[in-house]
Symmetry: C2
Subunit: 194 residues, 2 copies
Amino acid sequence: MHQGLIEYINNKIATKLNDSEIAQIKAVFKPKTLRKHQFFLEEGEVSKYGGFVIKGALKQYTIDESGKENIIGLYVENWWVGDRESQMNNTPTPYYIDAFENTELLVVSKEDFVSLLSQMPFVSELGRVLSEKRNFQLLRRLHATQVMTAEQRLNDLEKTYPEFLQRFPQHIIASYLGMTKETLSRIRANSLKK
Amino acid sequence: MHQGLIEYINNKIATKLNDSEIAQIKAVFKPKTLRKHQFFLEEGEVSKYGGFVIKGALKQYTIDESGKENIIGLYVENWWVGDRESQMNNTPTPYYIDAFENTELLVVSKEDFVSLLSQMPFVSELGRVLSEKRNFQLLRRLHATQVMTAEQRLNDLEKTYPEFLQRFPQHIIASYLGMTKETLSRIRANSLKK
DNA sequence: AAAAAACGTTGATCTAGATCAACGTTTCTG
DNA sequence: CAGAAACGTTGATCTAGATCAACGTTTTTT
């Protein structure tokens, strides 16, 4: 169960994890299973856990007054999921996160994460690098929503995360891209004609 | 000149910087002055430096085919500025960054930053925390552009970064918020009526 | 101090994409 | 396996905000 996480970390750091480190990681990352449609986090809660996706897929979204889901994040194997802002600042989250498929996660509490930070010096550095990568993603997406047309954003997604288009249905992709399912459907119909 | 940066760091870490650390920081962060309209970074370049703003203001933007500026970032005193993705991956940046006022920066090269990381253990952790904060900002802005109306985004900015509204003219704010200056002007006119 | 830029406003018009609605197909679920 | 969700498509209509244009005011440059 922890093998995926350990390989993931080994691929990101200079030296391999030793046995003691592996034991520590196994101790603080607890397995959690979510069946399809179960919540990992609900609006108003304070997030207790961060999660690493071993198997499955999740979506992160808000719900507006009219009940419409606005999807802001999609997560699959080897992605980190959660609302770190809520978790770090003990503030209520504005997001829902639920399992889009039956999902296996490894979750870690804030306290356990802090203890890892103090005991394993490379965790800060790994966290820094991963957080910066996430920054690059977010800045790109922000820029895309501000300057691109709906069609350009779809093309962009096909290049950046082609796996999402296989994995999630169109109305989910549409919302993630900030458009309606009708618009996405029409873009598709149009580009087939060409 | 370095005093602002040293205070900034002291406010973010558990213990104060000692003399040796201060000396190291002074050695790698070099002063740089930009006159209004001078570039810190231009599209196509590989970013060599990250910068910390001591005094002044900068804007980060792309320019589209029709020559229009699309502003994606505004930076004032005590903000970090640069394209870290370009700097870290040695890739050409898509952004322009220029001084919106006469500006004083402290800049650090990738190599010097890496040497700081290895010599001062708290740099990783500080970098991690700052990068996560930046993540929170970016996620909020992304969500805002996807779910809010133009008027809501303006109200949101008034709450989040009220200093920007004092500091930057309306057409800059409008672009930062992903709307035209005409739309921003009309929103203003409208909310005065109420 | 004159000329030129930069800035902000208002009006008229346009359009990308949203909304509303209906319907066929596929996939769950009891 | 039957009924109900979930999903995707197409058409008609609507609208928030963009675009285009003109003009007054303020700021900067020479």
